[in-house]
Symmetry: C2
Subunit: 455 residues, 2 copies
């Protein structure tokens, strides 16, 4: 491995120059005015992969932006095949005036490379391309078989990815997936994410009288749908912050002592957490810490609510209906299908007979737990430690990465969430940046991971 | 009085023709495209008053539409002065396609005169003008002194009326006010309204984190302002429908046994009430009937609520703030000032320390109770009975008529709410109408009332 790591060190400047060139292409996938740039970005990415030494690279059309797909099978049948996923598209850049330097004119300041897409996800994805290059230029081959799946629609909802995976399951067959699109717990704390929460969003509408009524003539005599909705929502959690939907916790996998102890060793600062949000204190399910709550406990929150008069001043009405959008974050082994059934049944059961309920299942995503005692996770932990010189920590995340569950369901493989981002990267915000150290370290980690997987 | 009542009978057709002409003027006060029509309507009204025999009629300009004001002081100092209030402006007519005949082309069908403004309030107001005419043409004088105050902005918020009353308190000095802008309890049930609820509208905003947060990253760890708002709202009533704000009922005047017994004799049909609203059943404060709840008990309702994402589908956010508009209907002797202080204090006291509260006092109106044992009320009851041949009932209303409290506070006089509308009049809606029988009966009632007041 020393040759390879040396090659990476020797080519640092060029690696940075190439990433900067790649970042200059404004591949904003959700804005059709940038369609040509997204296409140009895919073409440039294809060239980088070819330059890295992989000849079989294809731009595959979808109904949206193309997928860049590559294969290298030269390692033979006795070593694993790794599917590396990344996305070359980026978020929009508004509000532009808050950027210190223009989003598509990358600049290094204070050890960080500033530009849209640096951390999310061009910089992280590029690490793998450059690691492959280092391997190919040094050894003429890779230690494992590789498939690269780079999509151009992640920031626009990945509308065509699931179908692509389903339609091409045989082509994508592999032993493990590798995704670098997550963050470390903190700067200087190499981290491996092994769990993601799922989600189930629903909408509930309470229908009362057949028309808006005068609050003077009717106030006090009938159930007001807005008040009923508030009562119903309020009853969904008890005073201990526990969700009251019957059976909601049935399939919740409790944290192990090892996990809880591990979380406690992380450099979490509750005061800084609150200060950042300008709140006095956190609050949540009794008996759990903040990290446990957001990583490993289900939640139920309103995303939105509306009903009645919402303009300036007042209007003397009792509204005929009221609607709430409810988002539940799920943890292993809850499933969206199970939870949606339970909340629908419960909401209908607690509604008073004076109203009727309309219920809509908006969308769901399955929670993810990667087996910590597994070869890909061991390989990632070893690679991180060797590359950064520190024992990495295990962490989870509260959000979802839908493709992980698609890989699990369709390809029947685990995903290793080996990211190099930092909480200060400002992804999706102005002044997105990526640690220069983590960029280089990420390239080395990727190379070391491939080596470990070959053992 | 027989001469006068005979005059009214003899002139029925002309009285109807003149009302029809008056109704043809589209005096929609809230729509500036009709400003010329409102002005024309005021001018026509002035002529009708002059034709009735009152020469001192003025069109008084305001910052909005003019007030038509008239005085007749010929009855001398030993008889009372009655201030008659009405409004010559009307509601908008949308949705136009739901009108059977055009709103400004009056037509009689089935004993009802259909047109915008028939019941609210041109037809009712006109009764008094025509009663005065009958008196003047028959007797050459009125039995009491009269002041007429007809405004043109009632359907646009009466923006300039309160200031006008305050600025002209001396001119408006009187012994009682007479207002015909209310409804009977039911068709064929002559009714006198002796109580109106007041109102206090407020707005409360719950502020949480300093920005919208990702529901995956933060869901479960912090108090969501929308959920907090629902909890707070829900706690404002107990399971018996009683409002939990400390001291809220302190100044509530309990119904007397006479009042409760009186309400029970009214032809109220709860099934028809529910069917009209398409609801299964009523619901409200325990221990009270529907009529008691809407007429004589305070209420607390949401008029509107908003916060977070309210578009199609879902958005994975915890909103940074949430707002509710709350309307409380008040009963004697609650005051808006007292109630607004109590709810503000209470909302701030129940808010958890994780959020901050913004509170806005939107507007208030004082509840009204007219002394039933009084000369003006006796006069109205007698007049109604003589005109319609039936003993009238006492009723209250759940809504507010702000001018009543202004007369009480500024002029220090009671208002008699002697209306002739019916619940089926469709005021503020398509196909507004007014009972022809009540139009003629109203004219007689007005004449008889003046006679009774002179005794």
């Amino acid at each position: 491995m020393n040759d390879i790591l040396k090659y990476i060190d020797d080519n640092k400047n060029r690696y940075m120059d190439e990433l900067v060139e790649f970042l200059k292409i404004p591949s904003i996938s959700s804005d059709s005015r940038y369609n040509n740039d997204v296409l140009r970005c895919a073409g440039r990415l294809k060239e980088y992969v070819i330059d890295a030494g992989i000849e079989d690279v294809r731009m595959i059309e979808t109904e949206g932006h193309p997928i860049v797909y590559a294969e290298w099978k030269g390692a033979g049948e006795n070593v694993p095949t790794i599917l590396i996923y990344g996305h070359y598209d980026v978020q929009p850049v508004d509000p532009l005036n808050l950027w210190t330097t223009p989003p598509f004119e990358p600049e290094i300041r204070g050890g960080k490379l500033f530009a849209r897409g640096t951390a999310d996800d061009k910089g992280q994805m590029f690490s793998h391309v450059k690691a492959i290059e280092a391997y190919m230029k040094t050894k003429g081959k890779l230690p494992v078989n590789i498939k690269l799946l780079f999509e151009g629609e992640e920031e626009a909802g990945s509308s065509n990815l699931e179908k692509f995976i389903q339609d091409n399951a045989e082509m994508l067959a592999c032993d493990a997936a590798l995704i670098s699109d997550t963050e470390w717990f903190a700067e200087g704390v190499p981290s491996l994410c092994y769990g993601l929460r799922g989600v189930q969003n629903v909408e509930v509408t309470v229908n009362g009288p057949n028309r808006d009524l005068h609050s003077g003539s009717f106030g006090g005599a009938i159930d007001n749908p807005l008040n009923v909705l508030c009562d119903m929502i309020s009853s969904l959690k008890d005073k201990h912050g526990r969700i009251t939907i019957p059976g909601f916790y049935d399939n919740v996998l409790e944290l192990t002592d090892v996990e809880r102890e591990g979380f406690k060793t992380l450099p979490y600062d509750e005061k800084a957490y609150c200060d950042d949000l300008s709140i006095e204190s956190v609050n949540g399910e009794i008996g759990f810490t903040t990290l446990e709550r957001v990583w490993a406990r289900p939640s139920l929150d309103l995303n939105g609510i509306y009903g009645g008069y919402t303009g300036e001043g007042s209007k003397t009405i009792l509204p005929s209906k009221a609607t709430a959008k409810i988002s539940m974050r799920l943890v292993p082994h809850q499933t969206p299908a199970e939870v949606v059934e339970k909340i629908e049944k419960h909401l209908k059961s607690i509604a008073p007979p004076t109203v009727t309920i309309e219920f809509t299942n908006l969308h769901g995503g399955t929670p993810v737990l990667v087996e910590r005692e597994s070869k890909p996770v061991d390989a990632a932990m070893t690679a991180l430690e060797k590359a950064f010189g520190k024992k990495p920590v295990f962490m989870r995340e509260g959000g979802s990465i839908p493709v992980v569950d698609q890989f699990r369901v369709v390809l029947n493989v685990p995903s290793v969430l080996m990211g190099f981002g930092l909480p200060s990267d400002n992804i999706h915000s102005p002044n997105e940046n990526y640690s220069v150290e983590n960029y280089y370290g990420g390239i080395k980690t990727s190379a070391l991971f491939l080596d470990e997987m070959s053992k």
